[in-house]
Amino acid sequence: MTDFLQVLFVGIGDGAIYAMLGLGLVVIYRSTGLLNFAQGEMAMFSTFVVWTVWDLGVPLPLAVLAGMAGGFAIGALVHQVAVAPVGDPHERPLAVVMVTIGLFVGLNGLAQLIWGTLDRELPPLFGTGQVTIAGVAIGWQKIGAVIVLAVLALGFWLLFQRTGLGLAMRAVASNSESASLVGVPVPRLLMLGWGLAAAVGTVAGVFTAPGRGLGSNLMQLTLIFGFAAITLGGFDSLLGAVIGGFVVGIASSVVPQYVPGFEKIPLAPAFILILAVLLFRPQGLFGRQQVRRV
């Protein structure tokens, strides 16, 4: 039982990270209808920014904020330079996929060019301390991840449901032409959405790095887990990203532990989820609209 709880808590901690990356993916999908294959690399890159600022002697929490600002700038820039000019993702899926793949390859290389190929060490944001619950020791870092996720999710909910800016962003997501006709500056809001998505991605990176070392491949597995989370939750649902993140986190922690043949492939349950949901319930658990057919 204790073993199981241990595995469960690991899954919840990981799930919070997948949900963070998922929140960013949902924000981008809602506004631009695009699955951003470069989301993980954008997060990796801005996590390196966090490391650089921290390495200069700035306290880690401040460095994270600086990295989020850097991430925001990267996301906004990427949208303006590469994503906006290429056109509607559902009209030209190949071109859009190739642009995000170009970003993937380019950002990965750029990180290696700037920070080298050796892994960097980023300390855990919430320290290495532990607390014992029901006889199981849980790291503060895991609890911190869940709390930060809750803050981010609440922040997004307030933004979208309680502010005029969020209303405009939802209008753009639902019908960008009509939003434009009531005077909403659509391109600028899309840029804002990309910036926000990249900023939360930074946080996902900051929580991923301490366990595995900060290298240019930091987020490649996490990205697939994040996609599994939003596929399950529904591509356009923030709540879905959070719940999907926890389900995926727990499944990929529990299954390799208890199912023989899955020891080295925690990714397999996530893959099976993606496939099954897209086949049988493409709108996911909480998605409001059907996945648009191409």
Partner: protein, 382 residues
């Protein structure tokens, strides 16, 4: 070789009347390409020839991906996994089963065909960006699967492709060698010619598929599934078969890769490989037969020839340049090199034809004002 060059014509029938003169430019170009391809290995060092074979492996796999993604519109970011399955199939068939090399290559194609059909079935319900997502996950999963089943695959350290060979100490398992039966050619040159022949065969077969009724139905399904269905095309069968053939080609490409390196390793089949194939397809030009070959050569030249010449400090810049170029290409010339070339040709033809067709294009209408429309319509900068 002229077969290959001729294959650059478009999937849609060309509306312009074909010139009755001999296509001299085309014949000259084909001859030059032919001479270069044949002469190249005689003048190149062995490591270079092995790199060339590597490009051929990419060209074959990318051509398979092009059939699926370019012609049929199903985006796969997971062909690296099929490439890997082809490579491991060849390695295991030769090493563990003792199958002769060429039969192993054919069997790798068959195995990947079956896998491709199996992936094609769910892909009927998953389209566009979502198919890209699923195949991306497949590509990420593949190296992990290889490690999971290490008792068969050799895990992270990989497998050497061996066969029992006679040595001074009796018969022992040693890495296989592809040597020329004629003696005159070095092993790397022999490998080059053999795989070049295979590559040409694959491209000729692809061209014949694309130009056939089946090929036209691929494009019809891509452009409008409903319309294709209504005009009597069995959409599901076309899509599944395309996935199968495409996967088989990726598998043969993987087989070439494995035989070239004489060993397989999970790190050779990461997501990066799937990305290379996509790059080869879109750089050369999606939905053109020769495009993936051009793309594979362009990629190979960039990574194997240009990049090593860069100063040491700038070596890691290779992917940055590659990614940047890819984005610029998608924004500026989404049809790739071949698409860009076709556009130039079409523009030239349009300029030549513009003088002949002066008027009558505008919609007929009853107007009470004198109209200057038909001339204005042709000069958007007015």
């Amino acid at each position: 070789m002229s077969e290959l060059t001729a294959a650059t014509s478009e999937p849609h029938p060309d509306p312009r009347p074909r010139s009755r003169r001999l296509p001299i430019g085309r014949i000259v170009a084909a001859s030059i390409v032919g001479v270069v391809l044949v002469g190249l290995p005689l003048e190149s060092p062995p490591f270079r020839n092995e790199q060339f074979v590597g490009w051929m492996a990419i060209a074959i796999a990318a051509s398979g991906l092009n059939l699926l993604t370019g012609y049929n519109g199903q985006i796969s970011v997971g062909h690296g996994a099929l490439y890997g399955i082809g490579a491991y199939s060849v390695a295991l068939l030769i090493t563990d089963v003792g199958v002769p090399v060429w039969i192993a290559v054919a069997l790798a194609g068959v195995i990947c065909f079956v896998v491709g059909v199996a992936i094609g079935l769910p892909a009927l319900r998953i389209k566009g960006l979502y198919l890209a997502l699923v195949t991306l996950a497949v590509a990420t999963l593949f190296p992990l699967l290889v490690e999971q089943f290490s008792s068969v695959t050799g895990g992270g350290s990989g497998l050497s492709i061996t066969s029992p060979q006679e040595t001074a100490r009796g018969v022992v398992d040693r890495p296989i060698q592809l040597t020329s039966p004629f003696g005159a050619l070095a092993p790397d040159q022999w490998k080059y010619y053999v795989f070049l022949a295979l590559t040409v065969v694959v491209f000729v077969v692809t061209r014949n598929i694309v130009r056939s009724r089946t090929g036209r139905s691929l494009v019809a399904v891509r452009d409008n599934e409903t319309a294709a269905e209504v005009s009597g095309i069995h959409v599901a069968r076309v899509k599944i078969l395309t996935f199968g053939v495409s996967a088989a080609m990726a598998g043969v490409g993987g087989a070439v890769f494995a035989l070239n390196n004489v060993r397989v390793n999970p790190s050779s089949f990461t997501i990066a490989v799937s990305i290379y194939f996509l790059i080869a397809v879109v750089v050369g030009g999606a939905a053109s037969v020769i495009g993936p070959a051009i793309g594979a050569v362009a990629y190979g030249v960039f990574v194997d020839v240009v990049s090593p010449e860069l100063p040491e400090r700038l070596q890691p810049a290779t992917p940055v340049i590659l990614g940047g170029l890819l984005i610029v290409l998608m924004l500026v010339a989404p049809g790739g090199i071949v698409g860009w070339w076709r556009m130039l040709v079409a523009k030239r033809a349009a300029r030549r034809g513009a003088g002949a067709a002066a008027d009558g294009a505008g919609p007929a209408s009853v107007t009470r004002k004198p109209s200057s429309r038909s001339t204005d319509a042709r000069s958007p900068e007015a």
